[in-house]
Symmetry: C2
Subunit: 333 residues, 2 copies
């Protein structure tokens, strides 16, 4: 569990896209994001107050979150200076970078000397159990995609926000690095050892109130040969009561797999539902989430209307149109 609130480290981000972790935290957990720390040459701006480390500490920030992808896969000396000072000033550090904080001897030494924590959310910190398949109380919703990176995380976060606004009990459950940094907690599923994948998802979504919903962050796709095993473990470990089908309509092939066509939404529905019912015979598909970022307003609306007509399920881009109709469908089951 990463201590909040955060100071978001934007470093020397070459462009706004490089700071998408910081953007996610600011968009989805604004209460956690008190300020930003930018270095010379930074081309990203979250619109948050620029703070020095001392100012951030005085404002109550507990953790410096690296909200930016680093260049070249190494933590530069320029970053190091800030990170070391942050530890000395009393901040924990949190990072989803491939090059781990714990692999940097100077950061480890300073963290030890100052009693601060280094959170590398890319690697698991828990010994997860093997899944036991026992039915848990409370309800769970999972977004499954025709492909990777089609908006499953944003769908879950949009739904959580709408549900909380309606006074429903709902918790986003992060299964990826960005989701974990957004919420401060979760399972880095793609880094879990095979035998414990489904068990880690059970651990993440434990018994809860009967009217509580976990919104589980999806990963991969049953139809993506590189990552389908991860998706399968989410479906069986999460034992969802509800599935949302997620799709991005402009892909010409599966992400990273030229020659692999996307499945139809019908194929996704039938396959994912059959697999989900192994763990939860009551599971239903309740709606479709379309990532329309690449479409104009008019085209996006027409596309969603066509899918809704074809599939007989409420179909929206939850980020563009709001998640209200998906949540209403969820509340009805």
């Amino acid at each position: 569990m990463i201590e909040t609130p955060y100071l978001l480290f934007l470093g020397d981000a070459p462009d706004p896209l490089a700071a998408k972790v910081a953007q996610g935290i600011k968009d989805w957990r604004p209460d956690f994001a008190l300020g930003q720390f930018r270095m010379e040459g930074c081309n990203a701006d979250m619109g948050l107050p620029d703070m020095s480390l001392t100012e951030a500490r005085d404002a109550g920030c507990k953790t410096l979150v690296i909200g930016v992808a680093n260049r070249g896969g190494v933590i530069s000396q320029a970053w190091k200076k800030v990170l070391v000072t942050a530890l000395e000033e009393g901040f924990d550090l949190a990072s989803g970078l491939h090059n781990l904080l714990r692999d940097e001897p100077d950061l480890v030494a300073v963290a030890k000397a100052t009693g601060r924590s280094l959170h590398d959310v890319r690697v698991p910190s828990v010994n997860y159990p093997i899944a036991n398949g026992e039915k848990r109380r409370g309800k769970r919703c999972l977004a499954v995609g025709t492909d990777c990176s089609v908006g499953k995380m944003y769908t879950a976060l949009c739904m959580e926000r709408e549900m909380v606004a309606r006074g429903m009990k709902a918790t986003f459950r992060a299964t990826g690095q960005t989701g974990i940094l957004i919420t401060g907690d979760g399972v880095p599923l793609d880094a879990v050892v095979a035998d414990f994948m489904a068990g880690s998802v059970e651990w993440l979504t434990p018994d809860n109130d009967p009217d509580h919903w976990d919104l589980i962050e999806g990963q991969g796709s049953l139809f993506h040969v590189s990552y389908s095993g991860v998706t399968m473990a989410l479906i069986h470990g999460g034992q969802p009561d509800a599935l949302i089908l997620s799709h991005e309509p402009t892909r010409s092939h599966m992400r990273g797999l030229p020659g692999y066509d996307l499945p139809s939404l019908e194929d996704l529905r039938d396959t994912a539902l059959a697999m989900a019912r192994v763990a939860n015979p009551a599971c239903q598909v309740v709606g479709v989430s379309i990532n329309t970022a690449a479409l104009s307003n008019a085209v996006a609306e027409r596309y969603c209307a066509e899918v809704e007509e074809r599939m007989g399920l409420p179909t929206v881009d939850p980020y563009r149109h709001g998640a209200g109709r998906l949540v209403t469908a969820l509340a009805a089951i």
Copy 2:
């Protein structure tokens, strides 16, 4: 790669079942198994020559393979004495135990001093790639099960033996600890990190002659919620041309999951084939393998005949009846 031939260490095995790894090596790779090493109180016997370490060395053995499950999860002092002496006598050690050889400081120290290798086949020793899904040359066969532990490994080994006897090009590809110790090579799939599961299977079954068959050792089941993700990665990473359906007819529920019914062979066929065709549209189900160990001869034959009639596929217990009909079906595609 573990050096052969082996001296099989049976230790103080309380009963024959405790030595089932040794039994597997003796059954499937008799050329690798030159002798056995038994301690006082050993109640297992492979029918191999009992050898001292010196005798085994003189006979040409390269590796002492721990062919027995240890009691209580620790390597006892009595075992240690033999293992240390074996290293000093010039043997490598190989083990699939949960408690790793490499976690024993005395073994590590002696191995280093003597220049010998410690093979813990329970943990991966390779940095596997992420699967790229590219079509590989050569052919691949995978057994998929209605449940875990229904005879998938034995099915593949029986088929390999039959194919080699017919002069076909065939290689058993181990994906579990026992299979790796039997063959000296493979991927411990249940210990691979999630993102690299399918890639490790691609790595294990690379490009080959057009008429060469990999017989891939199956793991888990698409219908077993604890391990289905591992099975899915095998199906997509293995891109099989042929599937064998495996079943054990006396199970009352999924292994370790009371309350979970087994799927029908029809459900298994339809689900596994649809998933396999994502990676290899030409994939076919070619036969059914029944583990009849718990049935009498007459009941076993009747059961196989009934399944064959129902499914329209050659149906045998390959260990009991031979794998000939499965291999003939494989050769026909």
